[in-house]
């Protein structure tokens, strides 16, 4: 292990932070693609120098960038995301039919086995795959066949924001959509099914509906992909059977509303969330920025505050803005809408801002090199 590279997407460009294994001193490069919204960047597990970035703007639409040298140089690749066939309509906010329209790529998930294969989660919700390094993209339309006309956007849009590739079963993929819910394929993306049983959402007509839940993020430990953790609009949830059934593990959290959730690199039962006061007050309770850690897979939570602002703090942490490294001890990272990226080199015990005053952070990913 030679170091750590943190890929930071912001509202006005991308930044790359690098450090050695001690993770005390950080070099910052950027902004890359200055002025553009970078919803997500992620490196290939097969070739860490292969990094994909989603670059977009209201003026110029979607661009996908690819680096083959760890983010030093970039080349634009394919940006055509065409739905298969006539995509028809989904439900609009008021329940009326609304045409399916591509808006942007929220999340890029490189394959676990092929640096040229990468998945894209897009708004309006769909999953695309490229097998030529991002030059061309093909939808996996079986997902939209899964009651797509009944899906409805969340406040941030109808985005497919989470893609989890099962390292033990190459045919299994988990995805999550706001505000349709979580879905799983067991045949490589041909067919999908909702995995929302056990979720309860009081803000929808049927709180126990098969679809319609506002899932904010799901995560697993690679050694145990059947154990899923979820931060929902409200509620932190857990499933021990690949999403077939969920149970609430919010426990003693000060608020069970939030966006990100992640799992410790070496302790599959250690998970992290960042509680936010409420759905209408997207900032930490009491103005105190606290990461909450559970060492019991949920239920019992402890506040992590050492090095984090404990007064007058009103930032948010977005759904893709938390990640862990694979160093020992495990490092934990998150970025805020206030432009700070905080890091803990000791599993959350102590924190410091490794960069501050960036544009609002949309995503954080970590590569352990």
């Amino acid at each position: 292990m030679s170091g750590v590279r943190v890929l930071v997407g912001t509202r006005k460009g991308a930044f790359i932070l690098t450090s050695d294994g001690h993770r005390q001193k950080w070099d910052v490069s950027g902004p890359h693609f200055g002025g553009w919204e970078i919803y997500h960047m992620k490196g290939s597990p097969v070739d860490p120098n292969r990094i994909y970035a989603s670059q977009s703007s209201s003026w110029f639409g979607q661009v996908i960038q690819r680096s083959s040298d760890g983010g030093k140089t970039w080349e634009p690749v394919g940006n055509q995301f065409a739905y298969e066939g006539d995509p028809g309509t989904h439900q609009w906010y008021d329940g009326t039919p609304h045409p399916w329209e591509f808006k942007r790529v929220w999340h890029l998930e490189p394959s676990l086995t092929d640096a040229d294969e990468v998945y894209a989660g897009v708004e309006d919700a769909a999953i695309f795959r490229s097998r030529d390094g991002g030059q061309s993209w093909q939808e996996l339309p079986g997902l939209r066949a899964c009651q797509g006309p009944k899906w409805q956007p969340g406040a941030g849009g109808m985005c497919l924001h989470t893609i989890l590739l099962d390292p033990q079963n190459p045919l299994r993929i988990f995805i999550a959509i706001s505000a349709a819910g979580a879905f799983r394929t067991d045949d490589g993306g041909l067919t999908w099914r909702p995995i929302n049983q056990g979720l309860r959402s009081e803000y929808i007509p049927d709180p126990n509906a098969e679809i319609g839940h506002c899932v904010h993020r799901i995560a697993f430990h690679p050694s145990r992909p059947d154990v899923l953790f979820m931060q929902k609009h409200w509620d932190v949830m857990r499933s021990d059977n690949a999403g077939d059934l969920w149970r609430e593990v919010s426990g003693n959290l000060p608020s069970d509303f939030g966006f990100p959730i992640d799992v410790h690199a070496h302790e599959p039962e250690t998970i992290y969330v960042v509680p936010i006061k409420s759905d209408s007050e997207h900032y930490p309770p009491e103005g105190k920025l606290r990461v909450y850690r559970s060492r019991t897979g949920g239920g019992e939570w402890e506040a992590l505050t050492n090095g984090l602002p404990q007064q007058d703090c009103y930032v948010n942490v977005l759904r893709d803005a938390m990640a862990v490294d694979r160093c020992d001890p495990c490092g934990v990272y998150f970025g805020t809408t206030g432009g700070q990226v905080y890091a803990s080199p000791d599993g959350g015990d102590t924190w410091s801002a490794i960069v501050r005053d960036l544009p609002a952070v949309t995503s954080v990913e970590v590569q352990t090199l």
Binding site: F60, N79, Q80, F81, A82
Partner: protein
């Protein structure tokens, strides 16, 4: 040759400084200019016109000889000074956002 002026972000994306020139056969139109531009700079596909529909993106405008030609037919010939390379064809981003 037709001169084309692009907004900053598209110049950066296409890795060009200042205005660019493209060769267009016959009387230039929005469509033939943009077709030639995208053929020379493929990374601009989808950033000025939508993929598939080829519709102008909503926050962009096209100007020629100080006239807003955005709502003209994409196949309508542009003024002769554009064809002669005297005046540029301009792609302009809306003043909005934050």
């Amino acid at each position: 040759m037709v001169r084309v002026i692009l907004p900053l972000h598209l110049r950066t994306l296409a890795r060009v400084d200042g205005e660019v020139e493209v060769a267009v056969e016959g009387a230039p139109t929005q469509r033939t200019i943009l077709d030639a531009l995208e053929a020379r700079y493929p990374m601009l596909r989808g950033t000025i016109r939508e993929h598939g529909t080829q519709q102008r993106r909503a926050f962009l405008r096209f100007f020629a000889c100080n006239e807003d030609v955005s709502h003209q037919s994409p196949d309508e010939p542009l003024p002769s000074p554009v064809a002669a390379g005297v005046e540029p064809f301009m792609v302009v981003g809306a003043i909005s956002g934050g």
